[in-house]
Assembly symmetry: C2
Homo-oligomer: 443 residues x 2
């Protein structure tokens, strides 16, 4: 079975836990049977593999999520990297072309597109083999999964089926309605559109040929930044007449706000936090300092290097309106992670910023130099190799190095390496970086 998981960004709705580079699907908030915790994406992977151990899963995502995906799903998972964000049709076309050109999947094989972030159980994935079989029957070009609504929600798109049968042709699609209209749709037997689509691989490749001018993976990849921003709904679903829908009445939750996310969380408290006399309150503390919640009700409380949130759960869908685009204070990268501890921005343009970097054993940061800042590194744990203007030296806990602006530098960790980095300069941005070549293979 071929599955393409769409792993998008979750934006600001789960601030301060989500930002440009950290998305809800990577938060380890679900308890597994052995007591450990897993994320949405890990949970979906585990379930899919349990139902079909030969399932071929590919994740369609942006470069910023690669580190998190590799860290959570391992090195072997297939990733179709979108060079930039171009909406869902180019993303699905690129991933489909990858399956065809690189993975050599036949154009007649069915493919299922599935978002990575709903909270569902195994029943949901059991539907996938029915979707697969339905595509193979070729009664329709596109087969969707429709969720039986549990209330008249304004948050979802609706599918109006031709009949109430388990499999039905689709009469029409409706955008997010107001509650009264939603109620009418439900009386007509409408279903929520969960964003799960199944088709024969060649179907989308043909549409890509028509709309994007090519179905070649390499050509799509190379021209990706110039492809039109166009949704799969607009490019495919709305124009297709032969669509069927499979009804699903099992558990399906969209974890898009703190309110719905906390409903699905296994633990009320995560991190260095204590709740006393609290009711229906969830706390996530990713900071080192302790958090105490006392006598509060119906709150979601979150503390991360990006910020502090205290919200009534019912109000939590308003967060996105009040959060600005600050630089992320915490990032996971392929080589490890960093947290910004302190910064000091001055009117005279002399700025400083302190980071805690953790570099994983065997990993390295790229050989680079900066124009606008010098960096002072203090190694607080571990050991590794430092390259400074081409000269290699061994470094370990207690060593310091002063990297003047313009000096070429890189660091490779032998054991997990902790660095306190102090940046000083007139411009302290991630953009002030010139990446240089270094022969890491032979290093």
């Amino acid at each position: 079975m071929n599955i393409i998981l769409l792993s998008g960004g979750s934006g600001k709705r789960l601030w301060p836990l989500s930002n440009e580079v950290r998305s809800k699907q990577f938060l380890k908030i679900f308890k597994t049977d052995d007591g450990s915790h897993e994320s949405m994406v890990q949970r979906i992977f585990r379930m899919l593999r349990k139902l079909d151990e030969n399932v071929s899963i590919m994740v369609a995502t942006s470069e910023s999520q690669i580190a998190s995906i590799r860290a959570q799903l391992g090195e072997s998972v297939g990733i179709s990297v979108e060079p930039s964000r171009r909406d869902t049709f180019p993303a699905i076309a690129l991933a489909s072309a990858y399956l065809h050109d690189v993975k050599q999947v036949s154009g007649d094989e069915p493919v299922i597109i599935c978002p990575v972030d709903p909270y569902v159980d195994e029943d949901y994935f059991r539907m996938f083999s029915k979707l697969y079989a339905q595509v193979e029957k070729a009664e329709a070009n596109l087969v969707l999964m429709g969720i039986e609504p549990t209330y008249a929600s304004e948050k979802y798109g609706y599918i109006i089926p031709a009949s109430q049968n388990p499999v039905s042709y689709v009469n029409s699609f409706k955008e997010k309605p107001d509650p009264l209209t939603a109620e009418k749709y439900i009386q007509l037997g409408a279903l929520w559109n969960a964003g799960v689509f199944a088709y024969k691989l060649k179907y989308v490749l043909e549409i890509a040929e028509n709309i994007l001018g090519t179905s070649s993976y390499q050509k799509l990849f190379d021209s990706y930044n110039h492809l039109p921003k166009i949704s799969f709904d607009y490019a495919v679903v709305e124009k297709e007449r032969k669509i069927q829908v499979l009804r699903f009445s099992g558990e399906w939750k969209d974890l898009g706000t703190w309110n719905t996310l906390t409903e699905a969380m296994s633990d009320e408290v995560s991190g260095n936090a204590l709740t006393v006399d609290c009711k229906d309150t969830h706390v996530i503390n990713e900071l080192q300092i302790p958090l105490l919640a006392l006598g509060v009700k119906n709150l979601a409380i979150a503390a991360t290097p990006d910020g502090l949130l205290v919200t009534d759960k019912a109000s939590s869908d308003k967060i996105k309106n009040y959060v600005s685009d600050n630089r992320p204070m915490y990032e996971k990268r392929v080589w490890g992670e960093y947290t910004i501890l302190d910064y000091r921005l001055q009117n005279d343009g002399h700025n400083s910023l302190t980071k805690h970097l953790i570099i994983k054993p065997g990993q390295h940061i790229s050989y680079q130099r900066h124009k606008h800042r010098s960096e002072i590194w203090t190694f607080t744990d571990g050991s590794g190799k430092l390259i400074l203007d081409g000269v290699v030296s061994e470094v370990k806990r207690g060593d310091t190095v002063h990297i003047q602006s313009g000096m070429k530098h890189a660091i490779k960790a032998d054991t997990e390496l902790h660095i306190i980095e102090v940046q000083i300069g007139d411009e302290l941005t991630e953009d002030d970086i010139e990446r240089l070549d270094w022969n890491w293979q032979e290093f």
Copy 2:
């Protein structure tokens, strides 16, 4: 007029804003007429000086508060430093002896003892001249101020007066009662004991002579660590028969819990924080990262380097039961201040800790060395003089210095000096410090 202000610690009830070294009386939460903010201790000082510009005010406190007192009240304020905490009688005896021996105040002059932390207005201090006059009349050895109760509180001690006159002899004192008993007391015309006492200076000196064996300031100071821990109530008030009380019916608030403190705060929000659709909610954010409170009611929210608190105001008196004695993550010192940014404690005894130090112009830290840790300093702003094993050098923004364990070191700021300090060692405590001599006068 001679006034002794008792400036004690506020313990954990206002965690995370108060700790061993930071007390509520130094929080700048009251707006003045010119729009700036002042603390309780600044407010009391300003009012006392306004009513009597020749008032002689002395603060009785411990060494840990000297920096805050000097920073807020200036260098000229008199401070009677308690070498250790020995309860209120030794503290008042020491301050009284200081007035007599050092300030040459006559034994016949009245003195008023006043706690530093109630929230009061000028009417309260206008009572002080009446107290003063009453002491001079010598009808009693001790004259108290009694607050007319506004409700049957369990939190205060009660004074049962002989009459309802503005000045009355005292029949008895009652410990903190339950609400029903408090109600009975109030029906008897009882008053709250506000901890304001007035007496002729020699009165307390004579009792010190009896109980502590001396009334000499120098002898009390030298033997202070061995004096009995005994309260002024127990040593003086409960044994005295000739006591009068002055009734006071104006504004008086004890700002001992978040609930009462926030009632008196001028602003609902302080620091990098935003409240949206909130009601009766106060936020203090002393961290750099933003705080968002959304749709919550009746909460006190505080974020400091010591911790994060979200509490229903009515529950806030329970905080002290749930807060442990962690080392303060932020301290003001005579020379400046520091904040702990990050720490990493490991099982193998290799620890690291990162601090941001700010040293005020002209100030210095003591010449010292450590046995168990090395320190790496990165100067991120300002300039100063570094002493390292006796050698003096100039340092400025961008410089670094590696202080190995055992190396003698000190730093003096010429302009405000910012240092990121990384400590590495097997024991990272404030106790691992050996202070050494340096001739700062000629430096």
